[in-house]
């Protein structure tokens, strides 16, 4: 386009039809009359002018840089090359924003207090008085709407417009004529349930719409003018009416409901008849019609609650046949076994699974039909076993039975396998966990409730008279011990054999269902029990093993509800052992470790309790050099325990063999040659060789052998030798499938051969000789078989690793804007870094602009001040000058006058 800017502007304006040839008067009039066309035209004109302005001020817009040559880039030419920003507008906006925020802050700086201007529209000349009123109304409403209730007609007036009633056309509004139904009906429908603020908003919207309508009206028919106030009143009146109507509708509903209530009895009757269950309470046929309302309500509520609590009618399950039950049982066991296997392999069981499992463990542990643990090793023997009901027992039921037996004065060790147990177990077979728990408590309580009412009461409010006890002199109530000392002092006065009964009663008394605090109490109590069974063992004072066994089983049963507390209890004990006496394990600790082995699954790859326990055992076996026979005996016990731990997982424990071989060598009648085996040899300071013991009878080791004494009777030595050779035997069975069986048990064979050599044979009893000879034959056979099945290792059947390639990877459709980082984390990090950088830059720019703005403002203020000062100064100077001038003039005049007079 040629020519100057002005010429171009003119041309453009003409082109767009904004300026054109002069119109005739006629045309003008026509255009003025065509109102609609005019406004449209005006609009269009605005748009066009805007466009022209933009076009003629290229610096208002910021454009992205165009590529120099189209061919050199593959960036899409769309969008990115268009307008990137409006620097002028942006600058103005930011300036304005600063003026509103920063400047205000600046001016308010160092100032305290002040008046907050809550007025609106004062400074807004565009706001019409009507709009102002509307706004005021809305604000007022907003302020008060929370206080008033939805259906409160009366005080609404006082609140919203104090001292002023609603009027319509100058008359006060009345709501006598209820038949007036206006156009709010459709709103009414969905308004019913919505909350207040929403309603408020809707009303406001309506109000505005009406106001707009009013404007339109105003434009169209200026003669029928309705004041804004009137409009408002109308609106309010309508909304009130609308509200009133809703209330009326609600009342109608209430009536209907009341009617229904009256008929409820009939319905209820029908319901009770349809369900197979019998409800206990009798229907009250005549009660409703005549009764007082409050009584009726109460009754009704009661009924509803009862209905809610009642078991929902369900189609009862078909009674399962024995085969089906057995199948279910076997399925359940299979599932459990699978989970155990998974844990054994160390695979992570997913969280939900775990929970599931926990739940199952919790719930199903108390179900019927637990086969003995050995079955899992075989895995497939479940179906061949007799059915669940024949074998099965609910573990928790056991304790109920126990309780029963003890309560009726019979011996604790008597036969537990009563038919009762299996019956109950069968009954509870299908029940859910919670119900199971319920049953358990009920069972416990029912047993005793018949004899003693205290169990139904709160356990804390006990009276002395109930502590009279049963026929054995054992009271029914005990405090819940929270420490070992407390437990010991509580139980001190009763025979040791009654401990399980006491524990049973405490568990029943403080069942978590009875009191919310009981859960905590029982949790502590279970930790106390753990500490109790591991307290030092003494042949005289310690409870017999039948009792310990029972206590352990109690702990096991408690562990299902308090796994964390009990695990923590065990871990504290284990920690104590490892810190205080790692190489001097006491018989009490042996009981604790045994309990660990039964309560927790020892086959897990990792277990919070079993793994430390196993380490404690291995440490003793590996590092303790036995000083006397008691050490040997403890070691033997721990070895047996270890083998029992590893019964399913069959993990290799080197320390067991080291200990066994060392013990065999140390106790053998003659010292073996130095080069026997490759296990580390301990040199016992005192010789305990079993010499000349051929006449000694072989017996089992017992706990009393674990106590350190000075004597070393030959039968203990023979017992240890016997036990350790049995341990070696069991170890060979456990680890028969290991890869290095030959190397591992070759040493055992050598030592056993040494025991069977002539020098030793004569010293040992025949029973032991038989055993070692059998063991030798067995080991020889096993080693031979293991040799036959041995293959060279082929551990690395992996896919061969690819050689690293250095050829760059090409993207088919490469986009330079995209990042092709294969490392997700790095890519995300880069993204984050970029974002951070951008934000940082932005923040810095803002701060810089703020500073600029402030400097500018300060300068402006200073300038204004200076100017004012200058002005004032000048004014004063001028004033003085003028005054002085006048005086000077006067003086001059005076002087001249005097001169004149003198001259005269």
């Amino acid at each position: 386009m040629a020519g100057s800017q002005l010429k171009r502007l003119k041309a453009t304006l003409k082109e767009q039809g904004i300026v054109g040839p002069q119109q005739s008067k006629k045309q003008k009039r026509k255009a003025a009359q065509d109102d609609r066309a005019r406004s449209e035209k005006r609009l269009q004109r605005g748009v066009v002018l805007e466009g022209i302005r933009e076009q003629f001020n290229p610096f208002d817009l910021k454009h992205a840089k165009n590529p120099k040559f189209e061919v050199t880039t593959n960036r899409p030419v769309t969008a990115a090359y268009k307008i990137k920003g409006r620097p002028g507008a942006a600058k103005a906006a930011s300036e304005e924003r600063r003026r509103q925020t920063l400047l205000v802050d600046m001016q308010r700086r160092h100032k305290v207090g002040g008046i907050l201007d809550r007025r609106f529209g004062e400074n807004d000349p565009t706001m019409a008085p009507e709009e102002k009123m509307l706004e005021r109304f809305a604000r007022e409403k907003l302020k008060t709407h929370k206080k008033t209730s939805m259906f409160d007609l009366e005080d609404d007036d006082d609140d919203a417009f104090p001292g002023e009633g609603l009027t319509h056309g100058g008359k006060a509004l009345t709501f006598d004529d209820m038949e007036v139904v206006d156009d709010y009906e459709e709103d009414d429908l969905d308004d019913g349930a919505s909350d207040v603020s929403e309603r408020e908003m809707q009303r406001l919207k309506r109000v505005r719409a009406m106001a707009a309508e009013g404007d339109m009206d105003q434009d169209d028919q200026p003669e029928r003018k309705k004041s804004k106030k009137e409009v408002m009143e109308e609106v309010i009146a309508k909304s009130k009416m609308h509200r009133y109507e809703r209330q009326a509708a609600k009342e109608v509903d209430e009536d209907l409901r009341a009617e229904l209530d009256k008929e409820l009895q009939g319905i209820q009757h029908l319901l009770t008849q349809s369900s197979s269950r019998k409800t206990e309470e009798k229907p009250q046929p005549s009660a409703i019609a005549g009764v007082e309302r409050s009584v009726f309500d109460k009754d009704f509520d009661l009924q509803v609650k009862k209905l809610a609590q009642d078991k929902r009618a369900k189609p009862s399950d078909r009674t399962k046949t024995e085969e089906e039950k057995a199948e279910d049982e076997s399925n359940r066991l299979k599932e459990l076994e699978e989970k155990r296997q998974k844990r054994m392999r160390g695979e992570s069981v997913s969280d939900s699974d775990e929970e599931d499992e926990d739940e199952e463990v919790g719930s199903e542990g108390s179900q019927a039909g637990d086969d003995s643990e050995e079955d899992f090793g075989l895995g497939r023997g479940i179906n061949a076993k007799p059915t669940a009901a024949e074998l099965g027992f609910d573990d928790e039921d056991d304790f109920i039975i126990d309780d029963d037996l003890v309560a009726s004065g019979s011996d604790i060790d008597s036969d537990e396998e009563l038919d009762l147990g299996s019956d109950m177990a069968a009954e509870e077979d299908e029940s859910e966990e919670e119900e199971e728990e319920d049953e358990f408590t009920k069972g416990l309580l029912n047993e005793e409730e018949t004899r003693n009412p205290v169990f139904s009461l709160d356990s804390t409010t006990k009276s002395a008279d109930v502590e009279k006890g049963d026929e054995n002199g054992l009271p029914y109530t005990f405090p819940c011990p929270q420490s070992v000392e407390e437990f010991q002092s509580v139980t001190a006065s009763y025979p040791r054999t009654s401990l399980p009964t006491i524990v049973q009663r405490i568990r029943a008394l403080y069942h978590p269902k009875l009191d919310s605090k009981n859960k905590e109490r029982l949790g502590k109590f279970s930790a106390v029990l753990v500490a109790f069974i591991s307290s030092p063992w003494d042949p005289e004072t310690s409870p017999p093993f039948s009792v310990l066994e029972n206590l352990t089983r109690h702990i096991h049963s408690l562990a299902k509800s308090f796994p964390l507390e009990i695990a923590q209890g065990f871990r504290t004990q284990i920690e104590e052992i490892s810190n205080e006496r790692p190489l001097a394990i006491q018989p009490g600790d042996l009981i604790l470790l045994t309990a660990v082995g039964t309560i927790f699954p020892t086959s897990d790859h990792f277990h919070q309790v079993v793994t430390p326990a196993m380490l404690v055992i291995a440490r003793y076996l590996g590092q303790q050099v036995p000083q006397d026979l008691a050490d040997h005996a403890i070691g033997s016990y721990l070895s047996i325990l270890t083998l029992q731990y590893q019964k399913l997982a069959k993990r290799y424990v080197p320390e067991v063999l080291n200990f066994a071989l060392n013990t065999l060598c140390a106790l053998a009648p003659t010292s073996p040659s130095a080069s026997i085996g490759s296990f580390p040899r301990h040199d016992s300071p005192v010789s305990h060789r079993a010499k000349g013991a051929s006449q000694v009878s072989v017996r089992k080791l017992g706990f009393s052998d674990c106590l350190h004494t000075d004597s070393s009777p030959p039968e203990v030595k023979i017992a240890i030798l016997n036990t350790v050779s049995q341990i070696s035997d069991a170890a060979a069975d456990t680890w028969s499938s290991k890869g290095a069986f030959i190397e591992t048990f070759g040493q055992v064979l050598e030592v056993i051969k040494h025991l069977n050599a002539k020098a030793c044979r004569s010293h040992l009893p025949s029973e032991l000789r038989d055993r070692t000879e059998k063991l030798q034959v067995k080991l020889e056979r096993m080693i031979k078989i293991s040799g036959l099945s041995r293959r060279p290792l082929e551990l690395h059947h992996h896919k061969p690793l690819a050689i690293k390639t250095y050829v760059p990877k090409f993207e088919e459709t490469f986009d330079p804007d995209k990042h092709y980082d294969p490392d997700r984390e790095r890519a995300e990090l880069a993204k984050l870094k970029k974002e951070h950088k951008r934000e940082r830059k932005g923040a810095m720019r803002e701060l810089r602009k703020d500073a600029n703005f402030m400097a500018r403002e300060n300068l402006r203020i200073k300038k204004a001040k200076d100017e004012a000062y200058e002005k004032k100064y000048k004014r004063l100077v001028a004033e003085i000058q003028s005054e002085e001038g006048r005086e000077a003039n006067a003086y001059e005049r005076e002087k001249a006058a005097r001169k004149r007079s003198r001259n005269r």
């Binding site: 637990d370 380490l615 690395h796």
Partner: protein, 545 residues
């Protein structure tokens, strides 16, 4: 002890100062009856210093001092007083022979020197025998030593009272009090370069002179404790600036040379190793060999005999000597024939249980770090270690396995031990029918001849089912794909049962642990129906009454 002695000295000094103001008055006023022994001694001391006529008080004081055997308090005071007297006399130059002296004077001088020597011997006797007083005696000795070094001879020439120090050292070696030795080493020998220098010389000659001593073991222990306290080897001549006796003026004096200092240290240590006869003594020397002893040696070859002898002894001694031998081989080109042979023989049944095992394995890792070693030799080490790990504690298995991994990475030929495929159908068939014999010869001593390279690591495979979860996981790295370049051995050394347990116990139990769902009927007692529920192993093998 030492501060107490100083206290005594200080107190007496103060007393003397206050006395000095009115000495005559006091002497007159005080009658001999109510004089306490302390005052008497002080008077005597005063007299000696005032005039030569009172020199006869010296033997009297010496006599008093001899009373230390009866434990009299005066003896201490007398000793302190005499010390002051002699120091004063030394400072006055009364001990220096001048040509101008008359015959009478020279006789007095000789007599005085005799007295001085007598005093020293008594002091040393106190130092050697009396535990209570020894630290006081030591302080006095050292003061005299200083005075003697400064004033006994003409000032022109540097003289260190070597003989006196030698006697002090001998006395120290004999005394049973570790405390006084500690005081000497801490306050004097470590602090002053000249004392240290002459201490080395004295210890050396003392050890050589003491060979036919009564309790050699005791002297060895004392000498070792003294020498091992001296671990601050001077690095440069600038460091040699702390001198107890004023330093020699000459710049090229032996005392100013680092090499001379080192030499004396070396000589002393050599003398000590010479008398180390028993195993324990040798072990204690080997224990500090690399940290304390070696820095003193300018010629470490001199240790070769001792080290190789120790290394050949076997057992833990060899382990300790190993690092020394390795240093000599590496740095001094020591030719140790069949080093690996010997190293292989160190891998015995107790190595993985030894408390020095981490130290040993750090070295073993270095020795077998070369990729140029024959594969057969490396295979032997691998196989031997995996055999031993069958009976090892978890803390040992934990580093054996990564070590084996590293070796297999370095010697890919050895990977046959973990992966061996036989393509030959006849061999395959043979294996199918008869299994494989392990070609490894565990009793062969030559690592090149064991045939380990033809064997397989079944042991490691077995350890993959170790009871400790972490150990089992570590053992599994052998059968995983070898993607890692190598494992850092430092991460795996220095574990023990205690640390493993601690690692377990510090973890908090947050998630409820799994509980065995089945509550067994019987734990300790036999089942009622043994056929239906077989008894557990525990019940079978253990009698619970």
């Amino acid at each position: 002890m030492a501060p107490k002695a100083k206290d005594v000295v200080a107190k007496s000094k103060r007393k003397r100062a206050s006395e000095g103001e009115k000495p005559t008055k006091r002497r007159r006023s005080s009658s001999p009856e109510d004089e306490n022994p302390g005052d008497k001694i002080l008077l005597m001391e005063q007299g000696i210093l005032e005039s030569k006529k009172n020199y006869n008080n010296i033997p009297l004081l010496l006599q008093t001092m001899d009373g230390y055997k009866d434990g009299s308090e005066e003896s201490v005071l007398a000793a302190v007083a005499l010390c002051r007297v002699f120091m004063r006399l030394l400072a006055q130059g009364s001990f220096i022979y001048k040509k101008s002296m008359s015959e009478k004077d020279s006789v007095v001088l000789t007599w005085l020197k005799d007295q001085f020597n007598l005093y020293k011997t008594t002091l040393l006797a106190v130092l050697a025998t009396e535990e209570e007083l020894s630290s006081t005696a030591l302080t006095l000795c050292m003061r005299l030593l200083k005075a003697e070094g400064e004033f006994l001879y003409d000032k022109e020439e540097y003289t260190f009272p070597k003989n006196f120090l030698q006697s002090i050292i001998v006395a120290l070696l004999q005394t049973d009090s570790d405390e006084v030795r500690g005081v000497f080493m801490q306050e004097y020998a470590e602090g002053y370069d000249d004392i240290r220098y002459y201490t080395f010389i004295s210890i050396k000659s003392a050890i050589e002179g003491l060979v036919d001593f009564v309790s050699e073991a005791e002297v060895f222990g004392h000498a070792l404790s003294m020498l091992s306290a001296l671990d601050g080897v001077p690095e440069s001549a600038e460091e040699l600036e702390d001198f107890y006796v004023p330093a020699p003026k000459k710049k090229n004096h032996n005392l100013r040379s680092v090499t001379q200092h080192k030499r004396q240290g070396q000589e002393a240590w050599l003398a000590l190793t010479g008398i180390a006869k028993s195993k324990e003594q040798r072990k204690s020397i080997l224990n500090i060999m690399s940290t304390v002893i070696a820095p003193w040696f300018t010629k470490p070859e001199l240790l070769a005999d001792f080290l190789t002898h120790s290394y050949d002894t076997g057992g833990s001694m060899s382990l300790l000597a190993l690092s020394g031998v390795f240093y000599l081989i590496q740095e001094r080109n020591l030719d140790y024939p069949s080093f690996y042979h010997k190293l292989y023989s160190l891998l015995d049944r107790s190595i993985l249980h030894s408390k020095h095992r981490s130290r040993f394995f750090r070295l073993l890792d270095t020795f077998l770090g070369s990729t140029h070693l024959p594969a057969a030799l490396v295979a032997s080490f691998i196989k031997r270690l995996s055999r031993l790990s069958l009976n090892a504690p978890p803390s040992a298995v934990v580093f054996v396995v990564p070590w084996i991994y590293n070796q297999l990475r370095r010697h890919p030929t050895c990977t046959l031990m973990i992966h061996r495929e036989n393509k030959d159908p006849s061999i395959k068939k043979h294996i199918q029918n008869n299994g494989v014999e392990d070609p490894f010869l565990p009793d062969e001593t030559d690592p090149m001849e064991t045939g380990a390279i033809d064997s397989s690591l079944w042991e490691i495979e077995q350890l993959q089912s170790h009871y400790h979860p972490n150990v089992a996981t570590i053992a599994k790295i052998i059968s995983d794909q070898f993607t890692k370049q190598s494992y850092n051995m430092e991460d795996f050394l220095d574990h023990s049962y205690a640390t493993l347990l601690e690692a377990e116990m510090t973890k908090n139990v947050r998630k409820a642990p799994v509980v065995e769902f089945h509550i067994p009927k019987r734990i300790f007692l036999p089942h009622d129906e043994p056929t239906a529920n077989p008894d557990s192993l525990l019940v079978k093998l253990w009698g619970f009454q």
